[in-house]
């Protein structure tokens, strides 16, 4: 999975295109299905989100997804779960201070973001995640928030 995560960073621009195209479709799909089936399929959506994003991005299901603002790199893989990184302890070779064998998540995020069209999204200040949402689906939340016109802070 870590190889796929690195692949996502290297091809962040392609992922961004796919993301921009698929995200409205997924969210609209969820809204339609919720109208028909109510909340009965929420477990299925969550399962699908967890496994697809888990495979592609090493997603930790924080439920407050900011992938498109972090160079398609999941910040929850940072040992300090920093949402606005990197910290000041990155090693000279770009590796993590806590896990010396791992490349710093935020070094990857930065390099991913530089490949993206909306590269400046990484400059946005992100607040710490809402831990009540851990394990839940960011897709469903976003579909519902958009559906009722709530200003959206997080992304699918």
């Amino acid at each position: 999975m870590i190889q796929l995560r690195h692949f996502a960073t290297r091809h962040a621009r392609a992922y961004e295109i796919v993301y921009n195209a698929s995200s409205p479709v997924i969210l609209a799909g969820i809204r339609v299905m919720q109208k028909v089936f109510g909340n009965r399929l929420d477990g299925v959506f969550t399962w699908f989100e967890k496994h697809s994003k888990g495979l592609l991005f090493d997603c930790q299901m924080c439920g407050n997804c900011v992938l498109s603002s972090t160079g398609m790199t999941c910040p929850m893989n940072c040992p300090k779960t920093i949402r606005n990184g990197p910290c000041g302890g990155v090693r000279e070779n770009g590796h993590c201070e806590v896990k010396p064998d791992m490349k710093c998540v935020w070094v990857e995020a930065w390099s991913g973001s530089q490949k993206m069209k909306h590269s400046s999204k990484i400059e946005t200040v992100q607040f710490a995640p809402n831990y009540q949402h851990k394990g839940s689906s960011a897709w469903i939340r976003l579909a519902n928030e958009q559906g009722i016109g709530v200003e959206v802070q997080h992304e699918a």
Partner: protein
């Protein structure tokens, strides 16, 4: 201490009493005044003692008398357990020093942190430094649970919310906002180097009004970052204090470089130490020169001297550097 309601507590004037409010100032502390007055500031830090003895704190602070505008009280630095930063700041404030409360996100969640901010402000502490903190694995309690509920930028947002919007993150109103001068740190030398200026800007956008940097031994790199910061107008929005330090020997420098992530020491510095007859004295000489060079860099408003276990040499080095231009920083003895 903030005893402003005389019917409850008669006001007692002592050196730690907050200064009168001043327009455009975030706090009622001396450190902010020095910076806003345009003076070149000097700060240093004390390692809180492994002791419950208050005198230990005062003895350590005394070493900086006359040469420091503010003293950072580290918060479990290096993930090692020591006396709490809030307590050290309260003790120092009580006798008139201007301490900087360091808050590391490693050990406390947002509930505890907001409580500490209120408590510290009630005790008269006027400055706060937001840090993410070293991981627990770096310290003497590697078995502890790391918290990292917030990160340094979320912590700055939290301080700003409490101070400027007079509320907790939950939205619950505060009867009195903590009027604190907020800052954070930056390491100009870690990769990705191009991101450094973005990170600095992000911290300033989140509410940092002073920045203390990691050790700066590489002046060309620091100058490069500072010229970008000046171009972007960041040095108008925050006071930048360059971190300087003294190296006891070439061996220490090598060890720091290899074992403390984020510490960047150029080969020339190590070679210079190695070639010196008295390496310790040479390390101090380098520190003095670094301070002088920092003062010449546009946009740098002060230096932060980190001299772990060499605190007794700080006063001498600052005096020798002449960066204070003969200014005498506040100290209990003089008042």
């Amino acid at each position: 201490m903030r005893r402003e309601n005389p019917t409850i507590h008669p006001p007692v004037e002592h050196p730690g009493s907050p200064l009168p409010e001043e327009a455009g100032h975030r706090s009622r502390g001396r450190f902010e005044r020095v910076l806003r007055a345009g003076d070149f500031a000097v700060t240093s830090e004390i390692a809180p003692p492994d002791s419950s003895d208050a005198d230990e704190v005062y003895l350590r602070a005394q070493l900086f008398d006359g040469v420091c505008d503010a003293i950072n009280a580290t918060d479990g630095s290096g993930a090692n357990c020591h006396m709490s930063s809030v307590a050290v700041c309260a003790l120092l404030t009580h006798v008139g020093y201007s301490p900087i409360l360091q808050i590391s996100c490693r050990d406390k969640n947002r509930i505890a942190i907001q409580g500490d901010i209120l408590g510290a402000a009630a005790l008269g502490v006027c400055n706060v430094l937001a840090l993410s903190g070293d991981d627990v694995s770096a310290g003497d309690h590697p078995e502890a649970k790391p918290v990292f509920d917030l990160d340094s930028i979320s912590l700055l947002t939290t301080i700003k919310t409490m101070r400027d919007e007079q509320r907790f993150l939950s939205g619950r109103k505060l009867d009195r906002a903590p009027k604190m001068f907020a800052g954070s740190s930056i390491n100009p030398f870690v990769p990705p180097v191009h991101n450094r200026i973005t990170q600095l800007e992000k911290k300033i956008n989140a509410g940092a009004e002073f920045i203390q940097t990691q050790y700066c031994f590489d002046m060309p790199m620091l100058k490069e970052m500072m010229s970008q910061a000046v171009d972007k107008g960041l040095t108008e929005r925050a006071f930048i204090l360059a971190g300087v330090g003294t190296l006891a020997s070439a061996k220490t420098a090598r060890w720091l470089r290899a074992n403390v992530p984020g510490v960047h020491i150029p080969d020339e510095i190590i070679a210079r130490l190695e070639g010196a007859e008295n390496q310790k004295a040479e390390g101090q000489k380098i520190c003095v020169e670094l301070m002088q060079q920092c003062k010449e860099i546009e946009g740098i408003h002060g230096v932060h001297v980190m001299a772990y276990r060499q605190e007794q040499f700080v006063a001498e080095m600052v005096k020798e550097s002449g960066v204070l231009d003969g200014r005498l920083c506040w100290a209990p003895e003089q008042h």
